[in-house]
Symmetry: C2
C-alpha cells in the first residue's frame, strides 16, 4: 500500500487538511495516484495514531474548523525506508485494451465514438500538462540563459527537478497515448470499412 506514502510526500511538499489533500489528489497528484476523501481521512487517522503525521486543529470563521496535518519525523523515516524497498510490479488495469480486443466479437465500429472521446480527454490533459510545464518550469524553455554552471543542488531545487521529471513522464505518456489511439482509430475504421 502506497497511499500513506503518497500522502506523506504531499504533506512534505506542503502541510494541509484532509479536505485539501483530497483536492490535491483530484488534481496534480491524482494523475499518478487516486484516492477519495473517505480513504484519505481514514488513512490520516491511522497515520496520526502511528505518529507519522501531526495534526493541528485550526479554527476558521465562516467555515468549519479543520485539522491541518504535517509530516512528523517518524513519517520521514518511514518514507526513507520505503524508498529502499523493491518496487512491486504495478497491477495494470487497462480497460480500453480489453474493449479493443472485445470489439473483434462485436461491431468494431461501435467502439469508435468511445475511443474518440477517450482521445479528446488525453489531448486535453496533454494541453494542461504543457501549460503547467510552461508556468512552473519556464527555465526549461530558455536553457543556457544564465549558463549551466556546476552549481550545488539545494533541497528546493531537487524537489522541483524531480517534480519536473515526473511531469515530463506524464507528457510523454500522453503523447504516446495519442499516437496509439490514432493507430487504434485507423484500425477500427479499416475494419468497419472492410465489412
Amino acid at each position: 500500500m502506497a497511499l500513506e506514502h503518497a500522502i506523506l510526500v504531499s504533506l512534505l511538499e506542503r502541510p494541509g487538511s484532509g479536505y485539501e489533500l483530497a483536492r490535491r489528489f483530484d488534481r496534480s497528484i491524482g494523475r499518478f495516484w487516486t484516492a477519495t476523501h473517505q480513504q484519505i481521512y481514514r488513512v490520516l487517522r491511522r497515520m496520526e495514531a502511528d505518529g507519522w503525521v501531526r495534526a493541528e486543529e485550526v479554527a476558521q470563521d465562516g467555515r468549519p474548523d479543520k485539522k491541518v496535518y504535517s509530516a512528523a519525523p517518524p513519517g520521514r523515516e518511514a518514507l526513507a525506508g520505503w524508498l529502499r524497498e523493491p518496487v512491486e510490479p504495478e497491477t495494470v488495469r487497462h480497460e480500453l485494451a480489453v474493449r479493443i480486443r472485445a470489439a473483434a466479437f462485436d461491431d468494431p465500429a461501435a467502439l469508435i465514438p468511445e475511443v474518440e472521446r477517450h482521445r479528446e480527454g488525453h489531448a486535453a490533459l496533454l494541453a494542461r500538462y504543457l501549460h503547467g510545464e510552461r508556468r512552473d518550469f519556464p527555465e526549461a524553455y530558455a536553457p543556457d540563459a544564465a549558463g549551466p554552471g556546476r552549481s550545488a543542488v539545494d533541497a528546493l531545487d531537487a524537489q522541483r527537478r524531480l517534480q519536473h521529471v515526473v511531469l515530463r513522464g506524464g507528457i510523454e505518456y500522453e503523447r504516446m497515448t495519442l499516437a496509439w489511439l490514432d493507430d487504434v482509430l485507423a484500425t477500427l475504421r479499416e475494419l468497419a470499412d472492410g465489412r
Copy 2:
C-alpha cells in the same frame, strides 16, 4: 468492473478452465488486466449462474478433472452492451512516480538501483513483445509482399488485427517508459553529484 469482460474476451478467443485462464492472466492478458486464480474462480461461478458462460466437466487421467468454460450467447450480448457504455476514466496507481517525488526528501541516489532494476524489467518486456510480434504478426514486417488489395475483412482477421494494435500499444508504452526512465536516471545522478 471489467474482470467479467476480460474473461469473456479470453474465452471467446479460446475456451478454457479456470486454471488455464489464471495462467493466461499471468501472461499475455495480464499485461493489461491482472487477476489471481481465486478471483477468476469466483467470477466464473457467478458468470455461470448468470448464464454468461457454460461449463463442461472434463475428466483427465493423471491429473484432476477440470471444468472447461466457454462463452454463451448471453455473455456475448453482455459484452456487446458493455462496448457501448462509456469508458470510465482509469484509476492510476503509478508507484514509481510517488517514489521519485519522495526522493526529494531523502537521498535521491538511494532510488537509483531500484529505477535501474525497473528499467531492466521494462527492457525485458519490450524484447518479449517484439519477439511475440515477429512470431505472431510476421506480415507486418513484410508489407506489400502479396499486394495490399481491398479484400474483405473476415472475423479472424479482425481478431488478429485488434490483438496486434493492442500489442503495438504495449510496445510503444515500453519504448516510452524506457526513454523516460533514462531521463529519470540522468536527473537522479545529477542530483546525487551536486551534493
